[in-house]
């Protein structure tokens, strides 16, 4: 089978698996959206409970719910939240840009920063920067994200409140219309969460860049180039071109993982992204929202892996035909 076709079939099959998982898994959880463990002893009035049960088809068998949800998904309808009764699509749409801002900036910044540090380490392994900076970066990257986040919140957000410790923006600043202040305010609020993500991501990029460059720098063609008297910058440029593909692969994978991995960071910073929506939905057993978030995360993963696979297939003719 030709490479791209294979990728398409695989992606489609995975998409089907994902839809079933997204619909069934939330409903398999213990607990019910109608008794979600709030701290009040008197449950929802009987009439309210009956109405919700009927309106959200919680009284139907699982297979029927699955069929109904799939039918609705085919019409690109994600349904309404059981907790807020708002359309799930709107709830995700207002949060997705925030998650994208966090993750996109963090991954890009880490790639650039890590690439720079890795290059220095590869070219000058004995320089003070490589010998001092690298262990520090690796040490910081080895800390649990949650801990890094909490320390940043406490030190930079509370003790010395240079940055806001939570939220995605000063409340109601945008009420007066969009302006440069609103944009900067949003960036300002994203600094600490992005920093948390970057601290976790930089070591991988720096190591990758270094290890991709070291063998290339020693490769015969570069030795030849150096021998011909090519300036060091040009040599580095050639080395980089050869080291780029693995870096791009890591970039894509990290992007996909970080989308879901940012959930924790979002939660700790009370940052209203898709990840914190997931936590809220789990606590409330809000099936439609859980389903929607799962599908969005799954779609991102699928898209990234499919693109990476395609790029790999197209770049490397050896991978066409029987591969994997």
């Amino acid at each position: 089978m030709a490479g791209p076709g294979r990728v398409a079939v695989r992606t489609l099959a995975l998409a089907v698996v994902m839809v079933v998982v997204a619909v069934v898994l939330p409903r398999a959880l213990p607990g019910s959206p109608l008794a979600a463990g709030g701290d009040v002893a008197v449950p929802l009035p009987a009439a309210v409970e009956a109405e919700l049960r009927r309106a959200y088809r919680l009284d139907r068998p699982l297979a029927e719910q699955l069929a109904y949800e799939v039918g609705r998904l085919l019409r690109a309808d994600l349904g309404r939240s059981l907790a807020t009764h708002r359309p799930v699509r709107a709830m995700i749409a207002e949060r997705l840009p925030l998650t994208a801002l966090l993750v996109g900036t963090a991954v890009l910044a880490s790639a650039v920063l890590g690439g720079m540090l890795g290059t220095i380490a590869a070219c000058r392994p004995r320089a003070a920067t490589s010998r001092l900076v690298e262990p520090v970066i690796i040490g910081l990257g080895a800390l649990p994200e949650a801990l890094v986040a909490m320390l940043l919140i406490v030190v930079l957000g509370t003790r010395f409140p240079i940055f806001p410790a939570g939220g995605a923006g000063t409340p109601f600043l945008a009420a007066g219309g969009w302006s440069w202040r609103v944009v900067l305010d949003a960036l300002w609020h994203a600094v600490l969460p992005i920093l948390t993500l970057v601290i976790g991501l930089v070591p991988a990029f720096s190591l990758l860049a270094r290890n991709a460059l070291v063998p290339v720098l020693a490769a015969p063609f570069l030795l030849a180039a150096r021998g011909k008297g090519l300036p060091p910058a040009r040599v580095l440029w050639h080395a980089w071109r050869n080291a780029l593909p693995p870096l791009l692969t890591l970039l894509g994978l990290r992007l996909a993982f970080a989308m879901t991995g940012a959930a924790l960071v979002e939660r700790l910073f009370a940052y209203p992204g898709v990840g914190s929506l997931l936590f809220e939905a789990v606590a409330r057993r809000d099936y439609p929202v859980l389903q929607g978030v799962f599908l969005v995360f799954g779609a991102v993963m699928l898209a990234v892996t499919a693109v990476l696979d395609l790029v790999a297939v197209l770049l490397d003719p050896r991978l066409r035909g029987d591969r994997g």
Partner: protein, 515 residues
């Protein structure tokens, strides 16, 4: 690098508080869109937020019930009819007057689209006698009516909701139109942020401040946030904050009544918890004072087996107590047939099998102390740690032996002794942990109809006595909420019996009105 510098600079500009006037209050989750149909029912924040926008017929201050939308009321001798006289100046945020027709509409609309917090179906109908007089007829005499329904159910405008078929789906700001001291100027659901602005023509006087913001601050950061001046009100549940802020120049701590109760529920359908001596042995085995003082980190209100807290006006001192007495616990267990037959230090049943009892709880610190105290009397405890939603459904399905739960409501009208222990609500909260005795159910019904306060007091006391004898659940301790606030900005008040009914919240709207 340059870009970072620009951002830093700009941040310094924007990070300065843009406008010091709004009062900044907090909660740790979104509370939903503030209408009676879409607010969040997970926790008390949603229903509390409604009280800024909407009014109820009566309200509560530090001393108890006070007139509100209703200037006055008369109760028929049988307790089934209430005649409310509305305040002449009450009006909706759009300037239209609030009349008896709106009162009638509200209760009729709630019959089709129920209010999500309390069941108001005891209201049979409302008759409009004139613009200012509404006659509310109940299906039967209902003693807690004023505090649990008239003081809780928001009156909604007929001209907004009339003809709306799916009120829970309405999310337009214009739909959150009420008669309360504040209007909803903005709501950001993803951030859980609310902007309330004062309604200058409010019938109780012009509210202060002009603007109130609610934002989300995670529980673990609440105290830090108020300490740093990022918000003006924060909540803690341990007493050590009282000491920590005792000498602070302007941060004060408000202690609510002990309205949150920690209870150990027993399953009466399963051995061994079905045996009363077993439950009583557990009560003697637990040093509830040490438990409470460790958890609260300060003076604590120890649980009364009769459920009503000792400082409450409805408390009955004659309730049987179970003092901490491990020897008595062992005696009771031995009499129930449990003894250490193989000498391993653990109690065994008559067939020589080790006695094990399940304790279902969310991961809280109490569990470790409770399990240790029970192990001290030879009882092997298997802890099942679950998340709150799982605990709720295990309780509702009766799939537990002992279950630790924390909830608000141990204050205000004592009708909770009925709701928590008999009937549908009790069972959908914790199946198997309700009162079985017909006499208790009879008392629960009688107190509901008891118009005479002295009679009701006697009935409520008898209910507490029965609860203490039977021990379907063991109240471990009561919690106060500690609200740390900026005294330069406002002074929250302690509502008698809790905000609405039994909620340990500090943001009573009276704090923002001329008094």
């Amino acid at each position: 690098m340059k870009a970072i510098a620009v951002i830093l600079l700009a941040g310094l500009l924007t990070a300065a508080p843009p406008n010091p006037t709004p009062l900044r209050l907090t909660w740790w989750t979104d509370a939903g869109f503030p209408t009676p149909f879409a607010f969040s029912t997970l926790g008390p924040a949603g229903v509390a937020r409604l009280t800024f926008l909407y009014d109820t017929l009566v309200w509560k201050d530090e001393r108890g019930l006070i007139p509100w939308l209703a200037e006055g009321w008369r109760i028929s001798p049988d307790g089934a009819t209430y005649v409310f006289t509305l305040h002449p100046a009450a009006r909706w945020h759009d300037g239209r007057p609030l009349t008896a027709r709106d009162v009638r509409f509200s209760f009729e609309y709630y019959r089709r689209h129920p209010f999500r917090w309390v069941d108001a179906s005891v209201v049979a109908g409302v008759e409009v006698r004139d613009r200012r007089t509404a006659v509310v007829r109940l299906r039967r005499p209902f003693a807690p009516f004023l505090e649990t329904i008239a003081g809780v159910v928001p009156i909604i405008p007929e001209h907004v909701w009339s003809g709306v078929e799916h009120p829970e789906r309405e999310g337009d700001l214009r739909m959150a139109l009420g008669s309360g001291p504040f209007r909803l100027a903005d709501y950001r659901p993803e951030a859980g942020a609310y902007r309330f602005v004062a309604f200058p023509d409010y019938f109780k006087g012009r509210p202060r401040p002009d603007e109130i913001h609610y934002t989300v601050v995670p529980t673990e950061r609440q105290v830090l946030a108020v300490q740093n001046g990022q918000v003006d009100l924060a909540m803690a549940t341990t007493h050590d904050v009282v000491r920590a802020f005792a000498s602070h120049p302007f941060l004060r701590v408000l202690e609510t009544e002990p309205l949150s109760i920690a209870r150990l529920l027993f399953n009466l359908d399963q051995a061994p918890t079905s045996a009363r001596p077993f439950r009583q042995a557990i009560a003697h085995a637990l040093d509830r004072r040490r438990l409470a003082e460790t958890i609260v980190r300060g003076p604590a209100v120890v649980g009364s087996p009769g459920v009503v807290p000792p400082n409450d006006p409805w408390y009955a001192p004659e309730v049987r107590d179970y003092p901490y007495d491990p020897a008595q616990a062992r005696r009771l267990l031995r009499d129930a047939g449990y003894g250490d037959r193989d000498g391993d230090g653990w109690l065994d049943d008559r067939d020589g099998r080790r006695l094990e009892v399940d304790l279902t709880a969310t991961p809280v610190r109490d569990v470790e102390l409770i399990a240790a105290m029970l192990r001290d009397v030879g009882l092997e405890v298997r802890v099942r740690a679950v998340d709150p939603a799982t605990r709720a459904s295990l309780a509702a399905e009766g799939r537990f032996q002992m279950l630790l739960t924390f909830h608000t409501g141990s204050g205000g009208d004592p009708d909770y002794l009925r709701a928590w222990f008999v009937g549908r609500d009790a069972n959908s909260f914790a199946r198997g942990s309700a009162m079985r005795s017909p006499s208790y159910a009879r008392l629960a019904d009688q107190q509901l109809r008891a118009v005479d306060p002295t009679l009701r007091r006697r009935l409520i006391a008898e209910m507490q006595r029965l609860l203490g004898e039977e021990l379907p659940s063991l109240p471990l301790y009561y919690r106060r909420f500690f609200w740390i606030y900026d005294s330069r900005k406002f002074s929250p008040i302690v509502t008698r019996g809790g905000l609405l009914n039994g909620l340990p919240l500090a943001d009573n709207k009276l704090a923002f009105l001329p008094r």
